[in-house]
Amino acid sequence: MRKGHQSWVFERKPVIQSTATVVGPFEGRGPLGKDFDVIHGESTLNQDSWEKAEKMLIEEAAQLAIDKSGLTKEQIQFFIAGDLMNQIVSTSFAARTLGMPYLGVFGACSTSMESLALGSLLVNAGAATDVLVGTCSHNSAVEKQFRYPTEYGSQKPPTAQYTVTGAGAAVISEQGEGPIVTSATIGRVVDMGVTDPFNMGAAMAPAAVDTIQAHFRDLQITPDHYDLIVTGDLAKVGHGIVCDLLEKHRIPVDLAKYWDCGMMIYDYDKQMVQAGGSGCACCAVVTYGHLLNRMKKGEFNRILVVATGALLSPLSYQQGETIPCIAHAVSIERGNISG
């Protein structure tokens, strides 16, 4: 199962039985709007706090993924998920509602692929037959915790990113129909000394490249193995840096086949998002919604999703610490989809 230093190859081919994506109104108006299962009309979700709204997002996505899989929640053994809030309360409170055996994980915005990798590992190892994985983020809840009050009139620099309001969840099963998870590479923490929390793309880009490099080395494959390599939420600045670093490290990735979820979810001309999207939900909703839909249509056979996360806290950057970052890669193949 382990291959190379930090990768897992899943011989038993865990299947992504079902996925569910729930987003806020701003994401619904973006270019990928039609790929999402539920688009809320109000960013408050009619809750009385942003934190409760975020909990609702993951609850809804989890429930919908379970319903779409045709299983009951009693048949699914474990729920692996996390979010950006302190003590990952949104996810833990959703797990309270679901009443399922639960493993809370924190990888900041890399949680989408961290949970998918761990879920697939459990299924592949025979430790579970069905696992629910997911993550969520809410723009206003994140702004409130990490930056300023949402209604505060501060001017954001062009490197800033806009946190996605949404949640993505998936049911991973031993048997079934759907895209399959073939391998995963667990990243290490990379810190290139960036301190600016309004420039996350530049902070996270080296972690993404480190994991991509490790993935090809461990699996002994070349980048043309994949129809698409996509990073989680590096947005314009980080995407440009990754392109440069890939070239510098002589990793022969066809740059036309390297995208970033943070650059796909919003319309730069119509939506004021500075460099692009970010947040746990960014990679989750783009992958589980848009990319897997396109895979089912036959547009891709193999993709590598590299979710990136910045492991900072509001306290750590106020104390002048640099921003440690991480990236986890999961490869998904078209598998036995009928039609």
Partner: protein, 162 residues
């Protein structure tokens, strides 16, 4: 400070930061200045109009009219903050929206709204000054220093003491 931080970085980190810098879109300083001038000036014109109105139509003397003007601008800022408009104005105007008294009101109102969910005492009361607090602290410190300088260098006060 910036140099201190650079010294601590390893050569690899320094090299990376050079590369990252190339990809960083620069802040549009000229555009920001222009917008701040227009927006900040606009707020001041509104203030002047209000003051003239209070003096002409309400009949207030100048000092009372200016107090009423400040109160009105604060009220307007709080209303626009609660309507969810002021933060968008802030992104466009930058310092033009932050420097006038309306920016100060916005910082308090936005914090109060944001922390309402944590209760009246610990939420609204405790966190209302989250951003405005440092303005008050350093504003007061600056005022003390200026007052001391005024005392030292103003010939009227210094000479008139005898």
């Amino acid at each position: 400070m910036a140099n201190n931080q650079k010294k601590k970085l390893t050569p690899v980190q320094q090299e990376y930061q050079k590369l990252a810098k190339k990809h960083e879109p620069p802040r549009p300083v000229f555009k920001n200045c222009l917008r701040a001038f227009i927006a900040g000036g606009g707020v001041c014109i509104v203030g002047q109009l209000l003051q003239d109105m209070y003096m002409k139509w309400v009949g207030l003397p100048e000092d009372q009219a200016s107090t009423a003007t400040v109160a009105s601008l604060i009220l307007l800022s709080v209303i626009f903050t609660s309507l969810g408009v002021y933060d968008k104005f802030g992104q466009w105007a930058g310092a033009g929206s932050a420097v006038p008294v309306t920016g100060f009101a916005n910082s308090m109102a936005s914090a109060a709204i944001e922390h309402r969910s944590e209760g009246m005492v610990l939420g609204v009361g405790g966190k209302m000054f989250k951003l405005a607090g440092s303005v008050i602290v350093f504003g007061t410190v600056a005022a003390v220093i200026i007052a001391l300088l005024h005392l030292l260098f103003n010939p009227n006060i210094a000479g008139g003491g005898s």
